[in-house]
């Protein structure tokens, strides 16, 4: 029987066979993640459970971030992947290559040119814009875990907004060491309601989430939870009235490649016992060097200026 336009054949109805779905995940996995992400945005800082799918990397290597990225991404996106500030480390290069093979999207190392940024443990130094999404990979989403190992009780504490033990933990650090030693994953209050672990970004990066222009999605694949910080939302690190929150002191550190100061630096120990410093945000460093040679766009405004002042006046004391 020959097909007429009114009786399509099976071939007309089915799409062409492919080795993989677009963006690897099948539609029903994406739908579940998308429903979860919408809930997360409506409840800033609340950890929404989701069914974490198998992806071809091991749990703990960014599966949560990867699943969020794969559910968000479309042909119009430009992707950047960051691993601890770098674009070229094994984790970042692998994830970037995987997503680009599964979608064919353009990739970049320029934070302001990307529409979608997946990152492990850093927020870029340049101010992200209103249509950008930052996906952070989260190893441990539960800020209360160190004070309450039972997740059912921790959930009850979140429901009651009972964060006394978090304050006590910080206070004990003060008493014991004379300062707050919590370096990464600094507990922060989102929209005045839920305390989050902002993933192991340094203290330097936490203020960047406050009243940000971009949307941040934090996804923990192993722990199967996802939460979000919408644009223009308050994010306040827990701080005492008399002991203000402090970011890592970068004064006196100059990047040996670019000469930049007052940005988050990697310390490179030298044979003679001294140390060199270089920008942790490799994409930003690359942009500065390229711009200096007249080959590429000039770097844009950064969250912290050259004097180390944060761009929201009065936020850091």
């Amino acid at each position: 029987m020959t097909a007429t336009p009114s009786t399509p054949t099976l071939k007309d109805l089915a799409h062409q066979w492919q080795d993989h779905s677009y963006a690897f995940l099948d539609e029903s996995s994406k739908r579940e993640l998308r429903r979860t992400m919408l809930k997360a945005v409506a409840l800033p800082g609340y950890q929404v459970p989701y069914a974490s799918r198998e992806v071809p990397i091991a749990r703990g290597w960014g599966t949560g971030g990867l699943q969020a990225t794969l559910s968000l991404i479309g042909p119009k996106d430009t992707l950047k992947v960051i691993d601890q500030g770098a674009d070229d480390s094994v984790n970042a290069a692998n994830l970037r290559r995987f997503v680009s093979r599964m979608t064919g999207v353009a990739t970049t190392t320029d934070a302001t040119a990307a529409t979608l940024i997946q990152s492990r443990h850093r927020v870029p130094e340049e101010i992200l814009g209103e249509r950008q999404v930052l996906v952070l990979q989260v190893p441990d989403p539960e800020p209360l875990r160190s004070v309450e190992p039972d997740i059912s009780i921790a959930r009850q504490m979140h429901a009651d907004a009972d964060y006394g033990l978090m304050w006590l933990k910080l206070y004990e650090q003060l008493v014991r060491y004379g300062r707050i030693v919590q370096g990464a994953s600094y507990p922060s209050l989102v929209h005045g309601r839920y305390v989050i672990s902002p993933s192991p970004i340094p203290r330097w990066d936490v203020p960047k989430l406050h009243q940000a222009r971009h949307l941040t999605i934090l996804s923990a694949g192993r722990e199967k939870r996802l939460y979000a910080v919408p644009p223009y939302t308050d994010v306040r690190p827990l701080e005492f009235d008399d002991i203000p929150y402090a970011v890592e002191d970068q004064s006196g550190h100059t990047c040996f490649r670019t000469g930049v100061t007052q940005k988050f630096m990697n310390e490179l120990p030298q044979d003679d016992g001294s140390a060199l410093f270089e920008l942790s945000d490799a994409g930003y460093g690359e942009k500065i060097l390229n711009a200096a040679e007249g080959d590429g766009p000039a770097p844009e405004r950064t969250y912290f200026n050259d004097e180390g002042r944060f761009y929201h006046d009065g936020y850091l004391k």
């Binding site: 799409h15 492919q18 080795d19 993989h20 779905s21 677009y22 963006a23 690897f24 539609e27 029903s28 994406k30 739908r31 579940e32 998308r34 429903r35 992400m37 919408l38 809930k39 997360a40 945005v41 409506a42 409840l43 800033p44 609340y46 929404v48 459970p49 559910s71 968000l72 991404i73 479309g74 042909p75 093979r101 599964m102 979608t103 064919g104 209103e130 249509r131 959930r155 009850q156 429901a159 009651d160 929209h191 309601r193 839920y194 009243q211 949307l215 919408p230 644009p231 223009y232 939302t233 308050d234």
Partner: protein, 200 residues
């Protein structure tokens, strides 16, 4: 290996989801959704499957959304409620919609409602809004009151306002109020010193 491409259905749902995500992330901003199809059905097809549930009094829409595999359940249980027509039944259903509980506020309903993007001016504040947004939007009658009843943050429902290929998000975090009419002929009032509490 050939790079996978989106099927037409995948392309459509990704586009609708992007619109919904930005709608909820930036309340008070209108997002475009693909033209040429019923916006309510598009949103349903983007979000619904066997793992979720929905309610709608609209029979045509119900038939179409049942094809997603999602069960049609009473308004009290549904995760997603679609009202293409606004009437007393819709109001009653919304009164019964899920609001989540303290342990799981994410178990609240999401409403998809008809709206027009003109008319009364509202001031919206909250996450996703830089300061305040002045919105000219025709909300369904009594919606503000119904929302007032339902939302006790973090409990309450979230809504998508849908009109002609456009969508706007109304998450439970948004505070809305009607702008007071600007006084026209008024004598200038001498300015009094104001004692503000210092912001923390």
């Amino acid at each position: 290996m050939a790079t996978p491409v989106q099927t037409p259905f995948e392309a459509k749902t990704q586009e609708v989801f992007t619109a919904l995500l930005w709608a909820l992330s930036r309340p008070g901003e209108v997002q475009a959704i693909p033209a040429g199809d019923d916006a309510f059905a598009l949103i349903g097809e983007t979000l619904l499957d066997l793992e979720s549930s929905f309610y709608t009094p609209d029979e045509t829409l119900r038939e179409r959304l049942l094809l997603t595999g999602a069960p049609h359940v009473p308004a009290t249980e549904a995760e997603y409620l679609f009202f293409s027509v606004w009437n007393d039944d819709a109001r009653e259903a919304i009164r019964q919609a899920r609001r989540g509980d303290a342990l799981y506020p994410d178990r609240a309903a999401t409403l998809v409602l008809p709206a027009g993007f003109s008319g009364q001016v509202w001031v919206w504040r909250g996450p996703g809004i830089n300061g305040e947004a002045h919105m000219s939007v025709t909300l369904p009658d009594d919606l503000a009151e119904l929302r007032e009843e339902a939302v006790q943050y973090p409990l309450g429902w979230d809504a998508f306002l849908v009109g002609e290929c456009r969508v706007m998000g109304l998450p439970r975090t948004t505070q809305i109020e009607v702008t007071p009419l600007q006084p026209v002929h008024r004598q200038p009032v001498p300015i009094q010193p104001v004692h503000r509490q210092e912001e923390k």
